[in-house]
């Protein structure tokens, strides 16, 4: 099986939504498909990509299959993007301060 790039997986909005849904609770393929305004086949294609990226696993309970999030794998993504995001978060809160000062100065004049 071709190993896919994890970042390719999360670049897609539907796949990000799937991850958010199964992060909250394990879901059956049917329950997942109902959340989206697209064909069941389209949803299972996205699930396939996420499986190939090793981001989700499945467990069998009785006759039902449930998909769940692989937390360890998500942390890889988390670290990488979060670090970068945090840089910008810090920058922008600094910029909020700068703008607040500029506004004050403007009001004084």
């Amino acid at each position: 099986m071709m190993k896919r790039d994890i970042f390719q997986a999360i670049a897609d909005p539907t796949r990000r939504a799937i991850l958010v849904l199964i992060a909250a609770q394990a879901l059956t393929p049917n329950a997942l498909a109902e959340e989206f305004d697209m064909t069941r086949q389209a949803v299972s294609k996205h699930i396939k990509v996420l499986k190939e990226c090793d981001l989700i696993s499945q467990k069998q309970e009785g006759r039902e299959i449930y998909y769940q999030l692989k937390i360890e794998k998500m942390k890889e993504v988390d670290n990488w993007i979060e670090q970068f995001r945090k840089i910008w978060e810090t920058r922008f809160s600094q910029l909020d301060e700068v703008l607040l000062n500029l506004k004050k100065q403007q009001n004084e004049n």
Binding site: A11, R16, F84
Partner: protein, 167 residues
């Protein structure tokens, strides 16, 4: 201060592009100044505890900003930004490259596109960063952040939720 300001941050590794959108509780004139005047840029572009130090800046098409990100232990990482187009208070573009202290740029860089718009006193800035190589993109992220942050799954969930809300 308004606390519910929008902040979207999306990394598209496949397209080597980062999309950043943020609202600011200030009119467009002030926000534009904060992005285009060196003395203001130096106050916020380096994430603390780093500091930004602009050696010179000519904000005009073809002009440059040559500046350093200075780490807490005094190490300087130099960057050259060349302005490729400017539409006042609407948009500007630049080419960004890491450099040495003598202004010699690295061969590959990134293209930045900044867009500004104001509605009801809130200014939205939308930035896209396109990297010429994936390696460079990863370096851009690593730069200055070797110490790293302790990220949690919860943060990611929030990020994912935020991204999801857009669609």
């Amino acid at each position: 201060m308004k606390t519910d300001l929008l902040f979207d941050f999306i990394v598209d590794k496949e397209k080597k592009t980062v999309h950043i959108k943020r609202e600011f509780d200030a009119p467009i004139d002030l926000v534009w100044d904060a992005f285009t005047r060196p003395e203001l840029l130096d106050q916020w572009t380096a994430p603390a505890p780093f500091q930004s130090k602009t050696k010179y800046m000519n904000f005009e098409p073809g002009g440059k900003r040559f500046y350093a990100m200075v780490s807490p232990d005094g190490k300087e990482g130099w960057i050259i930004q060349k302005y490729t187009s400017i539409s006042p208070k609407t948009q500007f573009k630049l080419h960004n490259a890491f450099a040495d202290k003598d202004e010699n740029p690295e061969p590959t860089g990134s293209d930045w596109d900044y867009n500004f718009s104001e509605q009801n006193g809130i200014t939205t800035v939308y930035i896209t960063i396109f990297n010429e190589s994936l390696e460079r993109m990863e370096r851009m992220i690593e730069l200055g952040f070797k110490e790293g942050f302790t990220a949690t799954l919860k943060n990611l969930e929030e990020l994912l939720k935020k991204n999801q809300n857009e669609y």
